[in-house]
Symmetry: C2
Subunit: 236 residues, 2 copies
């Protein structure tokens, strides 16, 4: 019933019901995307009047969007000196994937103990689509992969943890979109997902948690290596 196109990755239930003013909401999203997609350079100044002109609004919605982004950590503000893009650099990526390594195993452990037949079927269905796609369309892979993990975390009782995961996920997804998956990483992703499903079916919570720790660790390292390579290429 759920079809291919359903996989525009959406946040888990009850998360991030964006509530800025209508103008502000879109502004927030636009600026935020520009930051995590890398269209705005690290530490670039965000001049309120410029942004307002560019988006055809007055300054007030821009100011509110910037405060919102500051609260979420994507922008730094110095009094009377305005806002700057918080750099999404290697440190940033390392910080958040390391937090993922700590949190996701706990979320996974709970999921394994609570998973229904439908949950497992859904995992297998998505995994089927992932293997069918087989990294041909990397964007699609990213969406499917996110959907896979969302199935596991979306019902978790700890909404803070799930929300944190989602926020970090969005950043990592945006960053990794700039790179290609290595063959080794592709193989690891597929086998780890399959193994994970097996653990879920068997109810092996601890094994699943351990596996997810490795999975997240591997994903994080993969992204970091790509970033390092690109930085080296730029420097050289």
């Amino acid at each position: 019933m759920a079809e291919t196109s359903d996989f525009k990755a959406k946040p888990p239930e009850g998360i991030d019901a964006i509530g800025a003013s209508s103008e502000g909401a879109s502004l927030y999203q636009l600026i935020r995307e520009d930051i995590i997609e890398g269209r705005l350079a690290a530490n670039e100044r965000l001049v309120v009047t410029d942004l307002a002109r560019r988006h055809g609004t007055s300054t007030n919605p821009v100011r509110e969007a910037l405060q919102l982004l500051r609260g979420e950590g994507f922008v730094t503000l110095v009094p009377n000196r305005g806002a700057r893009v918080r750099p999404i650099d290697q440190d940033f990526v390392r910080d958040i994937y390391e937090i993922g390594v700590l949190i996701e195993p706990a979320l996974t452990r709970w999921f394994v103990n609570m998973a229904t037949v439908e949950d497992i079927a859904e995992l297998e269905r998505i995994q089927g689509l992932i293997e069918e796609n087989n990294f041909a369309d990397t964007f699609r892979h990213s969406e499917l992969d996110t959907a896979f993990h969302t199935v596991m975390y979306q019902k978790h009782y700890n909404r803070h943890a799930a929300e944190l995961w989602w926020k970090h996920r969005e950043v990592l997804r945006a960053v990794s979109r700039r790179f290609n998956f290595t063959l080794a990483r592709r193989a690891a992703i597929l086998s780890e997902h399959r193994e994970l499903i097996a653990h879920v079916k068997a109810g092996n919570a601890n094994e699943a948690a351990e596996l997810i720790a490795r999975h997240v660790e591997g994903s994080g390292r993969h992204i970091l290596e790509h970033m390092r390579a690109r930085n080296a290429a730029r420097a050289g």
Copy 2:
């Protein structure tokens, strides 16, 4: 040399260099305090014009402060319907202390491997003050206890994790300020701190991490039990 009064708990280095406008900054802090201290009821409406009048400013700084608070998760906003206080209830507390249980052991493990003689001396000094105070002044205990853990986490390379810890810590501190420590909890805190110092001295990272997990778990449960008791008292 550092004296008693030094222990107004301050955030670790490089964290939360508050950067709203001067008016906005104080507004942000005031509203935020009102929320986590419980002076503003759960789900209470935050009317911009009221807040502006009450604090003697115009509406714009208030709006920006609210967006900032929304970004940090203390306020919910619905377009065209304004802001409400996000309830800091048992779920909220459980969520964030559980995240602490996952993150703090990792921070601790790193600290144990990196601790200098000065770090350990500082821990012992603070622990001395904690035992000297012996919960006579509960506010002072709270400050000292926070300082104790800040020594461990402030130098950690993962600024995101440290920042997260600090944000959660502030909330838990505010909530627990409304309750008294049980005798059992007092004993546990003192002995766990002493044991922790011993582990740090011996370089037992794993034991220290395990201990911190128990420590945070115990602290969280303690707060939750108090909240439950009070809710029961209110209902009955």
